[in-house]
Point group: C2
Chain length 132, copies 2
Amino acid sequence: MEKQQYLTKNQQIVLDLVEKSSEPLKAYSILFNVQKKGLKAPLQVYRALDKLVEIGKIHKIESRNAFVACKNSSCQVSKATAFSICESCEKVTEINNSKLSKYLTNFEDNSGMKYNKYNLEFFGLCKKCKNK
Amino acid sequence: MEKQQYLTKNQQIVLDLVEKSSEPLKAYSILFNVQKKGLKAPLQVYRALDKLVEIGKIHKIESRNAFVACKNSSCQVSKATAFSICESCEKVTEINNSKLSKYLTNFEDNSGMKYNKYNLEFFGLCKKCKNK
DNA sequence: AACAGTGTGTAATAATATAACAAATAACAA
DNA sequence: TTGTTATTTGTTATATTATTACACACTGTT
């Protein structure tokens, strides 16, 4: 049996909100939106976010300080993440490409480091914004 | 002739500091260290950092909110960056691997997006920390 | 000189994130 | 059941990271 099979109340509230969102959410925007549900302080949100990231239910878009729900159902942990980010409309999509993930998971250089995790962010213009 | 051939005084002061450092520097640590040189306010540091990042002299380690000098002499702009980060000692190294950069620069998926930039961060344990 | 573009200095403030502590709850063995 | 440990919660305060706004100065044009 895995540990942390069920989410706590606060974690579930935060996850529900992030999952319903079509765009990355910032921590304080989450806070504002869950205040009616009883989460009053930043720390309550950050603690829930930390846990959700740890177990792979959500990912942090580092370049944007924002959070998105994991769209990859097989993703139990956030060990190998890749995103595309439109620099115009800020749309973020999780990239699910097995070739890419295989390539990066197996990547080795001569540094002697053993990599167990990576995060990749691609930037560009999405289809819509390209045609403007 | 390229534009912005020379750095301004503030930019040079910040760049010198970052280049001398053996580890990523945080913005406010930079501020503290350049106050004797006359840069008194955060904004002076952030403006210099923004410009230096833009022209590729330094890179931002997004997951750490810290800055490192570019070690790749041919790197004029920060369009394609990859780093290895030790999760124990926080040592950060810029990865300079032509196969990797070629693979990522040419990466395409079926999203219709045209990528013009990426940032990749690998995490793990460095040689030293692995053997502890 | 007038201008445009860029950089500067300064103060104030916004946005993001964590520390510290006490209390409540869950997990589970003695 | 009790004791023990770990986790989660609630709360206040504070630390850290980053930007807005505005007046002015410098540089290179036209």
